[in-house]
């Protein structure tokens, strides 16, 4: 399955405004605790780290454990400082890496 993401960042904001960001990424977050039909252990395969950078600075990050639900969802906030790019990066097991970005206009 291709990695899909849904990202919500307000297109515009006032300087100093606290804006909400929501991100959703497709990933099974396989816990490593499940077994297949033949009784074999299904190996753990999860996203380990999420980072949000705003104009190059990390403004929010998360470390995931297997207890984060499949297709991880996050809602967090950041202060609108300057017009620019907000980037999102997910990194995980088996070489998983995905990057997304959104533009914000600050007045």
């Amino acid at each position: 399955m291709r990695t899909r993401t849904l990202v919500k960042v307000p297109a515009t904001a006032r300087r100093g405004e606290v804006v909400e960001i929501k991100v959703l990424v497709s990933h099974p977050m396989e816990t490593g605790f499940r077994r297949d039909r033949t009784g074999g252990a299904i190996p753990v395969d999860i996203i380990r780290r999420f980072e949000c950078r705003y104009d190059g600075d990390t403004v929010f990050a998360a470390d995931f454990h297997p207890a984060v639900a499949a297709n991880p969802f996050l809602a967090f906030t950041t202060v609108a400082t300057t017009s620019g790019t907000i980037t999102f990066e997910w990194v995980g097991d088996n070489g998983f890496a995905h990057r997304e970005s959104a533009e914000i206009q600050v007045e």
Binding site: M1, R4, L6, L24, P28, F73, A75
Partner: protein, 257 residues
């Protein structure tokens, strides 16, 4: 009333009069019995994981595929226009097979015959994604009306199987979904069983799945014989459920526990 009059009345009686399903207007989607948190998850397109499949289906819609090297969009154009209302009409009567055909089966036929693509498994990611995308174009529209007379015998057969006691627990679908909706089975509220949001993102599955999968899971829970995915008896049951839910609002992609 004479015997003859009675028979005549039975012959002209619309299907609705024969069913003990909730009357139109009284029917409640499973959405309405969910917690506010789950309803919020379905309502917010950025929080609804089913939208990831819709998004994938949107990409597939305009990706060239198969021996014909053609995309869905090459023939059907903008899905927002061409596919609006399509999910509301499925399962529909398919003259070629003289049987009802479900939306995913219709899409699959188009993929194989028009695009020359390799056949896909009923519960495969791409089939679910494309079906979710097409069905999503009908979100907010009313299901039905399913008044094609050619569909009627299949709706009747589906209704019969809905009321048929089966499996080791000797239960029918109607025992739970017509007679006891709103009550609890283990910790869960029994829904009326309306197919208004398929393919759905089910938390139990942690993924998107089809109505077929849901029906098969339900039958397994009843310890009944479980038909193969895409089996005609499942499509008949789906046709009855769709007819039973006619007039209800399409929610795809719905979120359910």
């Amino acid at each position: 009333m004479s015997w003859r009059h009675g028979l005549a009345a039975a012959l002209v009686l619309p299907i609705a009069a024969l069913a003990d399903a909730p009357a139109p207007g009284d029917r409640r989607s499973g959405y309405e019995t969910m917690s506010p948190a789950l309803r919020a998850m379905q309502d917010d397109d950025v929080a609804n994981p089913g939208m990831l499949w819709v998004l994938d289906g949107e990409a597939l819609w305009s990706t060239r595929a198969g021996a014909a090297d053609r995309a869905c969009a090459d023939c059907h154009g903008d899905a927002a226009e061409s596919m609006r209302g399509v999910a509301a009409r499925h399962p529909t009567f398919d003259p070629r097979s003289a049987a009802p055909i479900a939306l995913d089966q219709r899409i699959e036929r188009c993929r194989v015959e028009q695009q020359g693509a390799a056949p896909s498994a009923p519960e495969s990611h791409d089939r679910l994604a494309l079906t979710a995308f097409v069905a999503h174009q009908s979100r907010g529209l009313a299901l039905g009306p399913f008044d094609d007379p050619r569909l009627r015998p299949f709706v009747d057969a589906g209704r019969a199987s809905f009321h048929q006691r089966q499996g080791q627990l000797d239960l029918s679908c109607a025992d739970c979904h017509d007679r006891h909706p709103g009550r609890r089975l283990a910790g869960n509220v029994i829904p009326e069983g309306h197919p208004t949001g398929y393919p759905i993102y089910r938390l139990e599955w942690q993924t998107v799945g089809s109505l077929d999968r849901r029906l098969r899971g339900c039958l397994a829970g009843m310890r009944a014989t479980v038909p193969a995915p895409g089996a005609p008896e499942l499509t008949e049951l789906a046709a009855y459920l769709a007819w039973r839910a006619r007039g209800m609002t399409i929610e795809t992609p719905a979120v359910r526990p």
